[in-house]
């Protein structure tokens, strides 16, 4: 094959074996994965073992291809041009007799190295295909769909020494024995407590009753007597002021009588006049 034969139609025919998902090649450099791929494709046209390939013929084909591409004013990537220049150089070296074989790398070595690169690329492509066609996990073969992972149970092993035990015991007992001296807490009835108790005790009671009777349960302990009386009296005054409770006293130091305030706004206007009318609801209760 001579360079003149290189023709886009021919390329199209030659390269139709390429994978379908890649654009069909005309003189479309885009279709190649770089100059080495192009060289490999051209080499395949020689239909011989890559080991016996004629690098010279290959160089010719490559240069013709580039020439054809240029005529069509395709923009060529620099890679292709660098390779073209290198091949042109190699070609000239191959055609000329080697004058100084000892000097640097011989043209034959360069040609062999190129052939070796092509073989390597071809081999890796072949095995890449074999590799990718192996049964793939999640595509061809499957692992267990519902794995039952191993659960980690942490079992504590408790540690303590006899010394820990004894010192803790002795320490705590000793502290407790010493802190056993207790200051008796003074009991104080707060105003709030007194008020709460009175509201509860007087409740709905409509009859006059002495204060002492209400507080009888709280006056048992003599130590409480003073605070209970003082606080309830203060709370009582407050309750009277607010109009919740009525109270009266016969004279100084006489018992205090109290009852729930007979409210005129109780809902029934007839009830606010006389005590007689009030007796009816209390009688019902």
């Amino acid at each position: 094959m001579t360079p003149q034969d290189v023709h886009e139609d021919q390329f199209e025919a030659e390269f139709s074996e390429r994978a379908i998902d890649e654009p069909a090649l005309v003189v479309d450099v885009e279709g190649f994965e770089g100059p080495l791929d192009l060289l490999l494709t051209l080499a395949r046209q020689q239909k011989v073992d890559l080991a016996k390939i004629s690098v010279l013929a290959l160089a010719d084909q490559y240069l013709a291809f580039i020439e054809a591409a240029r005529k069509m004013r395709l923009e060529l990537a620099a890679d292709y041009l660098v390779m073209a220049a290198w091949l042109a150089y190699l070609k000239s070296r191959l055609l000329l007799p080697e004058t100084h074989p000892a000097e640097g790398v011989s043209a034959e070595d360069m040609a062999n190295a190129l052939a070796q690169r092509l073989r390597r690329l071809e081999a890796i492509r072949k095995f890449a295909e074999q590799m990718i066609n192996r049964p793939q996990l999640g595509r061809d073969v499957f692992q267990r769909g519902q794995p039952q992972p191993i659960a980690e149970i942490k079992r504590p092993q408790w540690s303590a020494t006899l010394y820990d035990l004894l010192s803790a015991y002795a320490g705590r007992r000793q502290t407790q024995a010493r802190s056993f001296v207790r200051m008796p807490k003074r009991t104080v009835w707060s105003l709030a407590e007194a008020r709460e108790a009175l509201e509860r005790l007087v409740g709905q009671s409509m009859d006059w009753s002495p204060l002492d009777k209400y507080l009888i349960d709280y006056l048992v302990d003599p130590s409480h007597r003073a605070t209970v009386l003082a606080s309830s009296f203060a709370a009582l005054l407050e309750l009277v002021r607010e109009g919740h409770i009525e109270m009266h006293q016969q004279g100084s130091f006489a018992p205090l009588y109290l009852r729930k305030r007979q409210s005129p706004q109780n809902g029934n206007p007839s009830e606010d006049k006389a005590g007689g009318a009030m007796a009816a609801p209390s009688g019902n209760g």
């Binding site: 191993i150 092993q157 006899l162």
Partner: protein
């Protein structure tokens, strides 16, 4: 001769047929097995049938597969009307990994343990009184978990509180031959753990872990057995 040869042929055919049918069945079982293995959830018979050659008796295949797997480490089980492969129930322990973590008892737990040891049988309220602070339920739970403290019985008193005591594991962990080996007041003083300036009536009881219930104790009821005596794993599943 002719007859014998003929018979042989017939027998041969039958064998071939049987072999063929057995081969077909084996292949169907393989498919079933692979489907069930790879499935992300249990599969129902309809789904399985759709993947098998038309006219396959899926139920019969499943029954055979179930029988094949029965003695194995993996079983074919039916859950909610669907089929799935599971590790055999008796091998569930394989799927848990127990690791031992050493943990130190809290100060409160050690104090409580010491009080239980010296004052047993003792109720929680009594422990609190001796410690002078309230004891959380958790502290006693931890002690029950260590296996050093056990429920003894209930005190014959209002509320029937549980009484606690120490176990044999307690003795073995702390290297005690008997509970009476626990040092008394004089020994504690001698060891410098208690100093001399204590009230005259201060005493340390002579401990006893005699398992016989005391007069003021009564046995635990069956309702107590769920409290902390059941193995942890079962409690965990609740």
């Amino acid at each position: 001769m002719g007859k014998v040869a003929e018979m042989r042929v017939i027998v041969g055919d039958k064998e071939d047929e049987q072999r063929e049918s057995a081969g077909k069945r084996a292949e169907e079982l393989r498919i079933l097995e692979a489907l069930l293995f790879a499935a992300e959830a249990p599969l129902d018979e309809k789904v399985l049938a759709a993947r098998l050659p038309a006219g396959t008796d899926v139920r019969a295949l499943l029954t055979q597969l179930q029988r094949d797997y029965a003695p194995r480490g993996v079983n074919l089980v039916r859950v909610g009307g669907k089929w799935t492969l599971r590790t055999a129930n008796d091998l569930a322990w394989l799927l848990t990994h127990e690791s031992v973590v050493t943990r130190k008892l809290s100060r409160a737990a050690i104090e409580t343990l010491a009080i239980v040891a010296y004052h047993q049988p003792v109720t929680r309220a009594e422990v609190e009184e001796i410690r002078g602070v309230s004891t959380s339920k958790g502290t006693l739970d931890v002690l029950l978990e260590t296996g050093w403290v056990r429920l003894r019985g209930r005190r014959k008193a209002p509320g029937r509180p549980v009484t606690y005591g120490t176990s044999e594991a307690f003795l073995s962990h702390f290297g005690l031959d008997a509970l009476t080996d626990l040092p008394g007041l004089d020994e504690l003083k001698g060891a410098g753990l208690i100093d001399a300036t204590l009230p005259a009536d201060f005493s340390v009881p002579v401990p006893s872990d005699d398992p016989t219930l005391r007069e003021d104790e009564e046995p635990l009821g069956p309702e107590d057995l769920d409290l902390g005596l059941a193995p942890r794993s079962e409690r965990g599943e609740e």
